[in-house]
Amino acid sequence: MADSTAAAPKPSSSVKLVLLGEAAVGKSSLVLRFVNNDFQENKEPTIGAAFLTQKCNLPTRTIKFEIWDTAGQERFASLAPMYYRNAQSALVVYDLTKPTSLIKAKHWVAELQRQASPGIVIALVGNKLDLTNETSEPADPLNDDGDADTTEGDDSSGDARKISTAEAKSYAEEEGLLFFETSAKLGTNVTEVFTAIANAIPETSLKGARGPGATQAGAGSGANDQSRVSLTGPRDNASKEGCAC
């Protein structure tokens, strides 16, 4: 993983991130895509939780994600507080082909808002975008609301989507969450999610892992805007050169 492309070391800070969501929505697959750029067709359920790290290069600094990939199965739910307690960010994942998974995601969001640290950055992620029939142009599900109309309740022609973009998006807006639709399988939008989170972490909550970076200003636009809807995050914040990982 290229730590840095620039010669001078950028300020670096670590960010704790927790993934939550119903079993089999693809949390581990998203992490695997992000960390190893890999995908496994039949991934086995996570037992307990897995801890991984991955660096993410932003124009002005390096973020080292410390990721807790938790198990979605009900019996592990009681352990979740341990993982989100000190987290600065959370990825709440649902499977956009499975309605119950959005309900579960909403429960997690509510729990985070109640119990996690107040400044936590939450991203709502609808995964398995490749199972819808819009895979040819899914890169930005946020560009027009018309999408929703064509996909809503549409089960024909192999489209397995059960949760429309509009529905999830409006919920995310209400709650002030980042929102993405992704495919861990194809890699669609995966680094974008992490980059957006990295950008959305308020400068003040960054503890420098090394160097004086933590206190330096100069974050990208919108970085301080995390409590508002961050829908603009991914596009404005240099998702192109985002994660060099």
Partner: protein
């Protein structure tokens, strides 16, 4: 795993360092195998007094026993030999390791097996004497009756010398179970001149090599682990799926006493529902009559039932395993369920609602149950022997590793282990607590067989209950993997030894704590341990040992006719074995080998059998089981190996184990 699976298992049995025998449950064996057994009175008398001295009776004839490394001088010829036409000794043994076939010729143990004892299913025994020529080396195949050579089809009514007829008279009592049954028939027709000619050239036939399996078991065993598709919505494919379902050699079912399905290795719910109903009815009927059903046979299929509180477990096997073996497999599945739920939770669920559907609380455990089940179906020495295998290291090297762990230990640590390829490298533990093989079996299964944890990458924090330690609560296990190949070589270059799975080269650091919140502390400990091991060279030693793999039998005893063995040290509850390479590579050869071991193990452990040594001859292999208070030993050679050469090989292996004891076993382990 002979101890009771329910409630609190006392820590007296099955502990790593428990110096007692392992408490093997010996169940009556219901295979009337036609194995020839050497009565204990013949061979064991000496071992009982001085078991560490090796095989008693053979020792009498093999005098030259000094530990002179790997190239022992030729054992002296026995004066009892009455076969003048025996070939002369072809030089010293030290040349024979290139031509293993020669080894058996000069050796013999005639005196020890003049008298044969047959054991029968009802526990009685018949004794008869054999001509000395029967038991000598395979060269006798040329001209003596009753040689142990492979044979194809046979008639049941040939009549040969005295001893063959006396064998014949027992025939009706023998249920032919698998390979061992063919002993009888082999002897009868062994005289065909063509066959004699052939077999004289067949000195070096390896186990299972020269057989056609058209009439035997294990046909289509390769398909055993293929998934059965779910029943489609209209049930149109049900018939086909049932055919696949019935073609499986092994089934494991778990259901609640109320008849709710919990787990089935094969087939989806729609497919198995009918069976679940029948089984529940059967079991409950006998439960009601206060005479619980333990097992029954239908055709060639054995059904074994194990009841644990509100749970019914059923093993259905066409692999010829004994009831005791199947039951211990079912116990392991039960342990896995306890490991997920803990006993109080399980009890609570069912006492609240007897109709509970356990599948939901167990969600995700299916993969663990299935990988356990498949381990049993593939055949696992560890499961068969209820023992662990260690990575072979020098004592001083292991000492350094132990100390590294001890030094880096944090307050929160309960158990610390380093495991390489499913073999134990080092254990540290509190003085008061030992580790139970059954618990380690669950951990190893989770980490090395059921790829879930490994595939996740990174480090893991896993809550689990170790029922052998305490079935009432959870412990938390920190796991991180290292690869034995991660220095320099990249993935492509890995030598992909056939038969050795990917798990073979995984090194894992496991740190277990009772404290839920101790992840970061244990992670720190792991970092310290790994960097220290790298600094003091131990990591390279471990990696080299992993890459080297197990030695072959020929490495251990040059020139031996033995092709594989299992040696279990009872006191250490550990076993050691050579590589499956090159004779038992792949699913099928390994399963055949394990079938053989299963049979030997079942007979040695059968109630009333009082067996100490068992020599078993079949048309495709010759094998030996040997049980003493110190160890259990099983070995196999090709069908033409003589008893003497097998006994000789066995002695050599046991000498080797004795010599290497502190390398192949972890003795005591490190305590704090």
């Amino acid at each position: 795993m002979g101890s009771s699976p329910t409630a609190s298992r006392s820590s007296s049995n099955n502990c790593i360092r428990q110096p007692n025998a392992s408490g093997q449950a010996s169940q009556a064996d219901d295979h009337g195998n036609t194995t020839m057994t050497v009565g204990e009175d013949q061979m064991s008398a000496e071992e009982v007094e001085a078991p560490q001295e090796g095989m008693g009776a053979v020792k009498a004839t093999v005098e030259d026993r000094d530990d002179d490394g790997y190239r022992p001088p030729l054992p002296p010829r026995p004066n009892l030999s009455k076969t003048p036409e025996r070939p002369t000794t072809p030089g010293g043994l030290n040349t024979s390791h290139r031509r293993p076939s020669l080894l058996s010729k000069p050796t013999t143990a005639v005196s020890s097996i003049d008298i044969q004892t047959l054991s029968f299913p009802d526990g009685s025994r018949g004794t008869f004497s054999t001509p000395a020529s029967r038991s000598v080396s395979e060269s006798a195949a040329l001209d003596t009756p009753g040689s142990m050579t492979p044979k194809g089809k046979h008639s049941q009514n040939g009549s040969e010398g005295d001893d063959t007829t006396s064998l014949m008279s027992y025939a009706p009592t023998m249920k032919g179970t698998g390979d061992l049954a063919s002993l009888l028939n082999d002897d009868i027709n062994a005289q065909s001149p063509a066959w004699r000619l052939l077999s004289s050239k067949a000195d070096t036939v390896n186990p299972f090599e020269a057989i056609d399996y058209e009439n035997t078991s294990l046909l289509n065993f390769e398909n055993e682990f293929n998934e059965i598709a779910p029943v489609d919505s209209k049930g149109g494919n049900e018939e086909e799926l049932l055919t696949q379902f019935k073609a499986k050699y092994k089934h494991y079912l778990c259901l609640s006493s109320a008849g709710k399905p919990i787990y089935s290795r094969h087939g989806d719910q729609n497919l198995i529902n009918g069976y679940i109903g029948i089984i529940q009815t059967l079991i409950s009927f006998y439960e009601g009559s206060k005479d619980p059903l333990h097992g029954f046979t239908a055709g060639g299929t054995r059904f074994v039932i194990f009841i644990a509180g509100p749970l019914y477990f059923v093993a259905i096997s066409r692999l010829g395993e004994s009831d005791a073996q199947l039951r211990s497999q079912l116990e392991a599945l039960y342990m896995q369920i306890l490991s997920t739920l803990t006993l109080p939770t399980l009890t609570h669920l069912f006492s609240n609602r007897p109709n509970t559907d356990l599948r939901r609380p167990l969600e995700g455990t299916e993969t663990l149950l299935s990988s356990l089940a498949d381990t049993f179906t593939k055949g696992s020495p560890s499961a068969l022997l209820s023992a662990l295998e260690c990575l072979k290291l020098r004592k001083s090297q292991r000492y350094v590793i132990n100390n590294t762990l001890l030094k880096a230990r944090t307050e929160k640590l309960l158990y610390g282990l380093i495991v390489a390829g499913g073999r134990l490298v080092s254990v540290v533990r509190p003085k008061r607590h030992s580790l139970h093989p059954s618990d380690l079996q669950l951990i190893f299964n989770m980490l090395f067989e059921a790829g879930g944890v490994k595939a996740g990458g990174g480090e893991n924090w896993i809550p689990l209950c170790l029922p052998g330690f305490n079935n009432r609560g959870y412990l938390y296990m920190y796991v991180s993997f290292l690869s034995a190949y991660d220095d320099g070589q990249d993935g492509e270059e890995r030598p992909s030894t056939p038969g050795s799975s990917a798990r073979e080269d995984e090194i894992a650091v496991l740190l277990i704590s009772a404290e839920k919140e101790s992840f970061y502390e244990l992670k720190q400990m792991r970092d310290d341990v790994v960097s220290q091991l790298e600094k003091n060279g131990s990591m390279d030693i471990i990696k080299a040992a992993v890459r080297q793999g197990r030695p072959s039998t020929a490495d251990i005893v040059p020139g031996t006719q033995l092709r594989h063995f299992l040696y279990k040290s009872r006191a250490n509850v550990q076993y050691t074995m050579p590589s499956f390479n090159p004779y038992f590579n792949g699913l099928l050869p390994q399963r055949r080998l394990m079938n053989l071991y299963n049979n030997l193990h079942a007979q040695i452990h059968a109630k009333h059998s009082h067996l100490k040594v068992l020599h078993s001859v079949s048309r495709d292999s010759v094998s030996l089981a040997w049980s003493t208070p110190l160890f259990e030993f099983y070995c196999v050679a090709g069908p033409n190996a003589s008893r003497a050469s097998i006994a000789h090989g066995a002695n050599k292996v046991i000498q080797w184990v004795k010599r290497e004891e502190e390398r192949v076993f972890i003795i005591g382990g490190a305590v704090f």
